[in-house]
């Protein structure tokens, strides 16, 4: 099946590409290439993965200029005999292919991305009918695995370091549609600032690259609407 030339980023913010010849295998993923390099060719290569099945969101990297979940990206589906693998963009690089996701998740916290319960402990389950508009809107964004692919693909995140980013805003919109949540007013004012939902330019690179097929851009549009509605009612 021959070999593929894999150009891998080595270093931190400063660094260079190092090429490795990796044998092609059937059903090989990009993560398999990186693992082969680290186990067989150069044990000093740093990268990150955990589940290998597209659940944990830890193996995302930039592959041929596009952010991807490497564990579920088949090498055979990518063109050419040369592949370039870099860490995710818009985040500090720890080493080689490992990006520091702390700023990414800090922004989830800034966007009030955690559930604020209203029910007292021990109270009965809340009934949320599956076909209600709010439940449908929450469902649309709830499968996010926090891989930061959208954040890495977002030009606004690159241009404005304070921008909360598609994933955090998607999370906020999911919670705004959770009827059990009690933090909606604080969350809306947290995401309606200069670096929040209104900073989005609707380029929709988040939607184009989300490996789970989510549409953070639609969630951000929902937040914009909600913010405008609250403003008109004098609640914001």
């Amino acid at each position: 099946m021959g070999t593929i030339e894999v150009r891998v980023w080595r270093g931190t913010a400063e660094g260079s590409y190092q090429s490795f010849a990796v044998p092609r295998r059937a059903n090989q993923t990009v993560l398999d290439l990186v693992t082969y390099i680290q186990r067989t060719l150069d044990p000093t290569l740093a990268y990150r993965f955990a589940c290998r099945v597209g659940m944990c969101g830890s193996c995302a990297m930039t592959v041929n200029g596009k952010p991807r979940w490497t564990c579920r990206t088949h090498v055979a589906r990518l063109d050419g005999d040369v592949m370039t693998i870099e860490p995710l963009k818009n985040l500090p690089v720890v080493k080689d292919l490992v990006a520091d996701l702390a700023p990414f998740f800090d922004k989830w916290a800034k966007a009030e991305g955690s559930f604020k319960p209203t029910a007292a402990p021990g109270s009965d389950f809340v009934v949320v009918k599956p076909d209600t508009a709010a439940r449908v809107a929450a469902d649309a964004g709830i499968e996010c695995i926090g891989c930061a692919v959208c954040y890495s693909a977002c030009d606004v995140a690159a241009w404005n370091p304070d921008y909360l980013g598609p994933a955090a805003l998607n999370r906020a919109w999911t919670l705004q549609n959770d009827v059990r949540d009690g933090g909606k007013a604080a969350r809306l004012s947290a995401v309606a600032g200069d670096a929040g939902c209104h900073a989005c330019h609707t380029q929709q690179s988040c939607r184009a690259h989300c490996p789970k097929g989510l549409n953070p851009s639609a969630a951000i549009a929902g937040l914009k609407r909600a913010a405008l509605g609250a403003l008109l009612k004098g609640e914001l």
Binding site: N64, G65, T84, D155, Q204
Partner: protein, 115 residues
């Protein structure tokens, strides 16, 4: 391999065209106001300018302006349908429709100019 490969999708190009057309139209505005201002100065001056714009090359430039204006209008309407009406499905078609509208408007103007 391009470092900007992640941008190569219809809605990013729609954004780029929206931004570039907006900047170009804003750059044209002073010329537009200057032309209108000539009419206040004198009828002859304004008529002189109108005769100058009848030149075929100027008609082509004006066609470009019409395309920019139509592209900016269609692009803005598309974004507003997303933001105010939650219309997110079929974005590829929406971008294609905006492009068609812009080019059709330019073609109509051009046909009208040569007729």
């Amino acid at each position: 391999m391009s470092r900007t490969a992640y941008r190569n999708h219809p809605t990013w190009w729609a954004f780029a065209i929206h931004r570039v057309s907006g900047v170009a139209l804003a750059a044209f505005l002073p010329a537009h106001f200057w032309a209108l201002g000539l009419a206040l100065e004198s009828e002859a001056a304004f008529d002189g300018l109108l005769r100058w714009t009848a030149h075929p090359v100027l008609k082509l430039v004006e066609t470009g302006l019409v395309v920019l204006l139509a592209a900016h209008l269609a692009g803005g309407l598309r974004v507003m349908t997303i933001e105010f009406f939650a219309w997110n499905a079929g974005q590829k078609n929406a971008v294609a429709l905006s492009a068609f509208f812009a080019l059709a408007a330019g073609l109509l103007f051009l046909l009208n100019a040569v007729a």
